[in-house]
């Protein structure tokens, strides 16, 4: 019989709901409005000193290296409390009790002694102190389904809180697959078992990144037939959502993006879009790819786009310029350092290819390969990431057609390239043919660039790419 005592302490705090029981041996009443996953913090529990147990090999002292909990945290039996080290051995100390940590006896790097108190835990008096051995002995329950379940000679391990949850939902612990340490049944396991019964889709638990996120459905035994009418329908008893909002500070790559984009906001952007017929370029690249491979270089479309952009910038140098802080002076940059937006694991980086105006398409391909391998390894240097004057973003490799790119200060223009699609188009004779179409979306700083300039630059760039042979005439 499970007895819960309600003490008349003035400092009782009930957080979510109540377990109200009449202290009467003949009648037990459980009334609750919501499901409880942790008992409320009743501050009149018993404080137990959890001593550091024997490590073995005659060791008497260890160094405390890391605390997994802090004062005020609630712990369940078998939760990890701290990591200690002794002579090349790292030991994980787990809690013997369910309760709330009230005091840590050591700080990091202190020497802790075997047999002396490690932490003080306040345990809920109604639950009692768990015995020395590792197997959990639970207080006997009224339902015969919840006596010790033995699976092939092993006892099911579950904390009292988990057993209570199982009992509330009429679940046999032997039916549930435990995923905790030593196959202990955790709260998540009960929830998942419930979800399978009711067909409800549960949101992932907050600790999903450490715990295996999926459970193999083959390993979960089939639900017994007698359960069907006992499991409540979701509408009448909603399963409590245990997900929590997670707030973390903005650092690193995200911080860099915040700074860049906040500065970009000051630039009045205008957009200009067009579509390019890359049919001839696709063919050219197919022919040149093996040649580049022989030289050990991967040839994509980007080197062509970059070189064509540089040729265009020669005619419209204002797009390769920079406006000073007070909008007093425009600096026309001599070098065409064309930036290429790269998506890495950590986030967006934009290294640039230097002096494209004096590079051949092959040179650009070599440099791009170098930047790409450094970028994915996270080893780009400051010189690769600074000095850019104009940027291209090939978002099409991921997908999309038209975009609205944001200019990266101190530049004044940027182009976003969509994916290449095979689409039907009309040729000069009015016949439909298969065309390789790519969309481009330009953004430019309207303080010094006007629509006409952008349009003419785009047309020139487009003409180079639609008829690659014309690039030969102007290549330097």
């Amino acid at each position: 019989v499970c007895i819960h005592r309600v003490r008349s302490c003035s400092s009782i705090r009930f957080i979510k709901s109540k377990y109200v029981c009449v202290f009467d041996k003949s009648a037990l009443k459980f009334s609750h409005q919501q499901r409880l996953f942790r008992t409320s913090a009743v501050s009149c529990g018993q404080i137990v000193q959890f001593k550091l147990s024997d490590i073995g090999e005659g060791i008497t002292e260890v160094t405390v290296k890391e605390w997994y909990i802090k004062e005020g945290d609630s712990v369940s039996q078998f939760d990890s409390i701290c990591e200690v080290q002794s002579d090349k051995a790292s030991v994980t100390i787990t809690s013997r009790y369910d309760g709330i940590i009230r005091k840590l006896h050591y700080s990091i790097d202190d020497i802790a002694f075997v047999g002396k108190p490690l932490v003080d835990i306040e345990i809920d008096a109604s639950k009692g102190v768990a015995p020395e051995e590792d197997v959990v002995e639970t207080p006997p329950m009224s339902h015969e389904e919840h006596t010790h379940q033995e699976i092939k000679g092993h006892k099911t391990l579950a904390t009292p809180a988990v057993r209570r949850l199982a009992m509330e939902n009429n679940i046999k612990l032997s039916e549930v697959v435990g995923t905790g340490k030593d196959n202990r049944i955790l709260k998540e396991d009960i929830l998942n078992y419930l979800a399978k019964q009711t067909g409800a889709i549960l949101p992932p638990s907050p600790k999903a990144e450490i715990v295996p996120p999926f459970r193999k459905t083959e390993t979960v035994p089939a639900a017994p037939k007698d359960k069907a009418h006992k499991i409540p329908v979701p509408i009448s008893r909603p399963i409590a959502f245990s997900g929590k909002d997670k707030t973390e500070p903005v650092t690193g790559f995200q911080k860099a993006m915040v700074k860049t984009m906040s500065a970009a906001l000051k630039i009045p952007h205008f957009g200009y879009c067009d579509e390019i017929d890359l049919t001839q370029l696709v063919q050219l690249r197919e022919e040149l790819k093996p040649l580049a491979e022989i030289r050990g270089v991967k040839l994509s479309f980007m080197p062509f786009f970059i070189k064509a952009a540089s040729l265009g910038l020669l005619q419209y140098p204002i797009l390769n310029a920079s406006l000073d802080e007070n909008c007093q002076n425009v600096t026309y940059k001599a070098s065409h350092n064309i930036g290429v937006a790269m998506d890495t694991e950590q986030g967006l980086i934009v290294p640039n290819v230097k002096n494209v105006q004096v590079c051949s398409v092959f040179d650009i391909a070599v440099e791009l390969n170098r930047l790409q391998s450094l970028g994915s390894a996270g080893q780009l240097g400051t010189s690769d990431l600074t000095g850019g004057t104009f940027t291209l973003s090939n978002i099409g490799t991921i997908g999309g057609t038209y975009a609205k790119p944001v200019i990266l200060p101190p530049e004044v223009a940027i182009g976003a390239l969509g994916k290449i699609q095979v689409l039907p188009r009309f040729n000069g004779k009015g016949e439909v043919f298969k065309a390789q179409i790519m969309n481009v979306s330009w953004s430019a700083d309207h303080r010094i660039i006007d629509g006409a300039t952008m349009a003419r630059f785009s047309n020139l760039w487009k003409s180079y790419l639609e008829n690659p042979a014309s690039m030969l005439l102007d290549l330097k």
Binding site: E83, T179, N183, G252, K255
Partner: protein, 372 residues
């Protein structure tokens, strides 16, 4: 003799039918398994898996594994203090943090790893090491090898050929050790030398030792021979058959949850973020034009992130807003060259476009990044 495929089948059915990974009752005292993978993270994940999921009461386990080039630091160590991270990145040598204590080791295919899994009560390192020495002596009686009280194995009373570390959990424990067969000593010594100055921390320091390969002592020895000899001795001592079961750490069906364990071991938060709090206090000597600038840098790093950052620059070398932006950006960021580079280059975008200024800024930042 049970066929290996049948053994795997039984193991598989055991794992699928019951939640607990158990072994069939025919097998006795010891099980010997060897990894087919050379990936340090996958192999460390196997150790974690066995530690967390296997019942070692009836049967102990010996796990044999080898890794492609990697540096493995102990649970509570500081990678900046222990190895040359720049060199590791350049040479594409992996860095891993294991869950056991102890010092830093260099692994390559010429080094073998042995993990002895037992229950917590049966944890006994000296016995395991004596087993290894016995196996070596059985193979080559003339080898002068012995176990020290620091749990090292020395060759010729001088050279360390094996280092030890251990992990104890609630019910199970493991003791693992290395054995130098034919590792690249040149790479070993260069990667295990830290170039970072001014680091102050309470992380477990490694104790450097002179090392020697067993191959140097006797060129007829190979890793395979040594693995086999040790397996044979283990089998004898545990009264089990001398049979090595191969396991694939990528097999999620055999080892459910192993993929996530391996993934966790590769996260930045685990490898670098678990470094105990440390401080960096150094002086950058920046050569600029005709003079040398002394820049004092003080940083506190906790969980691998810069908690406090102080840079002592001569006044007027950089505009104060830029300097404070730098400090603000670095604070809270990872002590990581990739992240720092991204941040400092971003700051350059939003500051006055002056060539002189850019040069000074780049110089300062590059020197700062060298500290990471």
């Amino acid at each position: 003799m049970v066929l290996q495929s049948l053994k795997n089948c039984l193991w598989l059915s055991c794992v699928l039918r019951t939640p607990k990974a158990c072994f069939w009752s025919t097998a006795s005292g010891g099980l010997i398994i060897q990894s087919v993978s050379n990936d340090v993270y996958q192999n460390l994940a196997v150790e974690d898996w066995i530690h967390d999921h296997m019942d070692l009461e009836k049967q102990q386990v010996l796990f044999l594994w080898r890794n492609s080039p990697a540096v493995v630091i102990g649970r509570h160590q500081n990678p900046w203090q222990e190895c040359n991270l720049r060199l590791l990145r350049q040479k594409n040598i992996k860095l891993a943090r294991r869950r056991s204590g102890g010092g830093t080791v260099y692994h390559d295919l010429g080094n073998i790893n042995l993990t002895f899994f037992t229950t917590r009560k049966k944890y006994e390192r000296m016995e395991n090491l004596k087993l290894v020495v016995k196996a070596l002596k059985a193979l080559r009686p003339q080898l002068d090898v012995h176990v020290t009280d620091r749990y090292d194995i020395l060759l010729d009373r001088r050279y360390k050929i094996s280092g030890t570390a251990a992990k104890l959990g609630r019910t199970s424990a493991y003791h693992h050790c290395t054995l130098l067969c034919n590792a690249d000593k040149f790479v070993l010594s260069s990667v295990l030398k830290s170039p970072y100055k001014g680091l102050k921390s309470n992380a477990t320091p490694s104790v450097p030792a002179s090392v020697k390969n067993l191959f140097e002592e006797d060129p007829s020895l190979t890793s395979e021979m040594l693995l086999d000899a040790i397996a044979k001795e283990y089998a004898t001592q545990h009264q089990t058959d001398h049979h090595i079961t191969l396991i694939n750490p990528a097999d999620e069906t055999l080892l459910p949850g192993i993929h996530n364990k391996a993934k966790e071991l590769q996260t930045w938060e685990w490898v670098y973020g678990k470094t105990p709090k440390f401080s960096v206090s150094t002086c950058l000597n920046i050569a600029y034009k005709d003079s040398v600038l002394d820049v004092k840098v003080n940083m506190d790093v906790k969980h691998g992130r810069i908690e406090v950052c102080n840079i002592d620059l001569p006044e007027e070398w950089l505009p104060p807003e830029l300097y404070s932006e730098l400090v603000k950006s670095l604070t809270g960021s990872k002590f990581c060259p990739n992240e720092a580079t991204t941040l400092v280059t971003t700051l350059l975008r939003v500051c006055p476009q002056d060539d002189e200024l850019h040069n000074r800024w780049s110089l300062l930042c590059e020197n700062m990044i060298m500290l990471m």
